[in-house]
């Protein structure tokens, strides 16, 4: 069986900044009219010089440290020279590993689940502008429309070694990286286009195929599965796999040969003369390490130690910062039962979130849920005010209405319980505690009324008697 090797190139926009990488324009270009978020520097006007953003360097160094990379003492920028209409200077200012100097991060490692992947390098670079030309306008057969609003925003590129062999591992790895990035606060991964991932795939000994244009992390797994299948079926029929670049077609869910000539371009890298060599230095690094936010792995250790959560529960929480934050907010409000709180979030609440929800937007979008709701719910269970089934039902109501659980309970206490599951559960408990009566009921039908009475007692008189009776009878029938 041919061994599959997959390597990744992740691009992460530093949306946590205010300004662009080399100029003072807003770094958030989304939703703005074309060419209204530009200045002479980022639109490539002659005579302008790049003004490096200090905080971008910090963020890039933080990302490098967080994924286990070595950060060098001296840092340089390079020019990658090629022509393209979305590139205002027809070169990109980026970083490069030469034999004299490295990029902002090298030789790292990321654990994900029980596996790990090596990081080859991390580099800080600028994003190009955007071209508008596919299928928007009949006229774009004759020309292209260029918008420079995005040009010059900061990108951190993370390149891994080809340490992956299965698409699902890639998905797990990307989840981990997303969580790390979110915990650092350098990028809002839920913003459209803020994180992108290209991949390269090869079968053992075969040529490498690069897959580009994958819109979201979720699609990476799909694209890889498709590409691996494609390559395997070619290899089985002894068809040669060419070294090439393929684009992911989102609509048709296939990879196809890149239309543009992306042959081996000679990028003629050389050091960017307008930016001096940047001395990072030990002081900078140690102060950075001191103010690094808590990372997912550290947070998990703390969850296990402080809250005594079970491993797999803690794991689910830290994989998504929003979830972990939600948990801690709830525990802050009601600290008594962190385990119970965690379980409610991880098992029940997550069940309400849509599976189809993409990586974009809040995890809880569409649900009217806040930490205070969970906190109160758990406290009500602890006080024996409700049982778990009722709690679950209440939770459902909360997510729809946003009302506090206690409020919902009040309303419920005045209303009839006609939920068969709840009544059945109550019946089960009674059958447990009134064993002799149950035995009698099998002989003497009038004892069923006694059982019914017990049900009414336990449900505060709210159970629907007709349904309760019918369920008691069914239950008795099953007893043989």
């Amino acid at each position: 069986m041919a061994e599959v090797r997959i390597g990744l190139e992740i691009h992460c926009q530093l949306t946590g900044l205010q300004s662009k990488l080399f100029c003072l324009c807003h770094c958030d270009y989304r939703g703005k009219e074309a060419n209204t978020n530009i200045c002479p520097i980022c639109s490539g006007i002659p005579g302008t010089l790049p003004l490096l953003n200090q905080r971008a360097v910090e963020f890039a160094a933080m990302i490098s440290l967080a994924i286990g990379c070595k950060v060098p003492n001296l840092m340089m920028f390079y020019r990658k020279n090629y022509f393209y209409p979305d590139l205002p200077k027809n070169f990109q200012i980026t970083q490069y590993n030469s034999h004299e100097i490295t990029t902002v991060g090298v030789d790292g490692e990321v654990d994900y689940g029980d596996k790990s992947a090596r990081i080859r390098r991390v580099q800080l670079e600028e994003d190009p502008g955007r071209l508008v030309y596919e299928g928007t306008n009949a006229d774009t057969r004759f020309y292209t429309l260029i918008d420079y609003n995005r040009a010059g925003t900061s990108l951190v590129e993370i390149v891994t070694e080809p340490d992956f062999s299965e698409p699902k591992d890639v998905r797990l790895f990307l989840n981990k990286v997303t969580s790390v990035i979110e915990h650092l606060g350098v990028c809002d991964t839920k913003l459209e286009g803020s994180v992108r991932c290209d991949a390269n795939v090869s079968l053992e000994g075969g040529k490498r195929v690069e897959i580009k244009n994958v819109g979201s992390f979720r699609d990476v797994e799909k694209a890889l599965s498709y590409e691996i299948t494609r390559q395997k079926s070619m290899s089985v029929r002894d068809i040669e796999i060419k070294s090439e670049t393929r684009h992911w077609d989102e609509a048709r869910k296939v990879t196809k040969q890149a239309r543009t000539k992306e042959e081996e371009e000679d990028y003629r890298y050389f050091p960017e003369p307008d930016i001096p060599i940047i001395l990072l230095g030990n002081e900078f690094l140690s102060s950075l390490k001191a103010k690094m936010p808590e990372l997912p792995d550290e947070r998990k250790i703390r969850f296990l130690a402080d809250y005594k959560l079970r491993d797999h529960v803690a794991q689910v929480l830290i994989e998504n910062k929003e979830l972990a934050d939600f948990f801690e907010s709830a525990v802050k409000i009601y600290p008594t039962s962190p385990n119970e709180t965690a379980n409610w979030i991880v098992s029940d609440l997550l069940g309400f979130t849509s599976d189809l929800k993409d990586d974009e937007g809040s995890l809880f979008s569409g649900l009217k849920i806040e930490a205070k709701h969970i906190a109160e719910l758990v406290s009500m269970i602890d006080k024996n005010m409700i049982n778990r089934s009722i709690a679950k039902m209440i939770l459902g109501q909360v997510t729809k209405t946003g009302q506090m659980p206690s409020h919902i309970l009040d309303k419920m206490n005045a209303s009839i319980i006609d939920n068969r599951a709840i009544i059945s559960e109550t019946i089960e408990r009674i059958f447990e505690s009134e064993k002799s009566a149950v035995l009698d009921a099998r002989q003497d039908p009038s004892v069923t009324n006694f059982l019914l009475g017990k049900v009414m007692q336990l449900t505060g008189g709210r159970a629907d008697p007709k349904i309760a009776l019918s369920l008691i009878k069914d239950r008795l029938a099953k007893l043989e």
Binding site: P40, G47, P88, K89, N90, F142, R268, F270, P273
Partner: protein, 497 residues
Amino acid sequence: MPNHLYQLTADHVVSGIKNRRFSAQEYISQILERIEKVDSNINAFTAVNPDDALERARSIDKRIQDGQGTGPLAGVAVGIKDNICTKGIKTTCASKMLDEFIPPYDATVVKKLKESDAIILGKLNLDEFAMGSTTEFSKYGPTCNPWNVDYVAGGSSGGSAASVAAQECTLSLGSDTGGSVRCPASFCSVVGLKPTYGYVSRSGLISYSNSLEQIGPLGKTVSDVMMIMNVIAGEDEYDLTTTEKKPASFAATPDTMSSNKISNYTLQTKKNIRVGLVEELIEGADPVVSKCIYSALDLFAELGCKCENASMKSVQYALASYYTIAMAEASSNLARYDNIRYGFEFSPEDYEWNAYFAKVRNNFGEEVKRRIIIGSYVLSAGYYGKYYLKAQTARRMIKQEIQSLFKKYDVLIAPTMPILPFRLGEKIDDPLKMYMIDIDTVVANLAGIPAISIPAGFENGLPIGLQIMANEMEEQTLLDTASAFESIVDIHRSPQI
């Protein structure tokens, strides 16, 4: 008081206007008349703004009349090389590729000049994108030498030097990548300074070779050059390669008409200046040039300076290193000219993008295209180590060697140009021959040190310039030495134009 106000040096213009001996309007009017009279023979200007200049002159006169303060260069007419961005005024780099480019911002030096109340007269001719040594590679045609209009004015800042020599403006700004301020200064017999790399902001200077070039001032005297340096030098937040935080405040030496005062001056400067003449920079020079430079050395000795021959072995690599690096950077800097955002009238509609780029970019001039091709070559995979890296290593060697020389000497001297100005068209068909004349000037760019050219003599009516170099950020020593030389060599003449 000279007959014509355009003959005045900047210091006298400023004091004359301030003390109301004449008005700024009078002065500017005379300057504009002068341009009208002579520029058709010289072709120094690519554009002149008479209305704007007169308006500013009027406003300065009014402020003085009202007793308000004015800046240190108030009223002085300055010309700006046309590769330096002036907001609202076309800036073309003498190229078709920027035919209709109107910068939306001012270069930092232009901003500073405006703040000092200097009056920007217009833009000055250059070799296309500053690539050349004669200003013959310009879409506007060549600039002619005011001393003999059949001869080249030097380049690439030919317009900047010729305009000052012909007294069409009092001061000018040029740019110097491998000698482009000093060469025309020498050929036109004016003073031209290339500051220490990083001393003057490059923000707004349209890049040719970023790690080598600096904007540099030209004027009739060293004192005038000091005045404008005080305005334009200093750290700029828009240019990361600028470093000097202290503002410049060069003081002119005392009025040096008597040799008495000169000896006092040298005694005053705590040590005798130690002067080294770099052998390797003079050995290939024209005999009449060498003779003039050796005489200069003698003059320094008479002043009381310790004079010696100095040797710099790494000079043999200087031209190869310079051109490799300059062309490499140029090939990248010029990539942005794709005619989409700025350029000339030629719609991109219905062209495939590669074809469009290639088609419009073939409108660069010949010399520019040659350098772009060579630049791409020396950076390409397989040749990067052999050429670019070696060139940068050579550059380090040159810098180290020059710094060890500055342990023994305060200044180094050499000819600015190894030859006299030559006839228009003489070297234009032999690129390599043209490059060779930069041998004396590229060393200062490679090492990042300041260097100045000052008039040293004439031969057959054609100027010879002396080049003086000092260590990084030692402009005061450099300018003092130049000033002392200027007063003893005593060349006071103007071209008959």
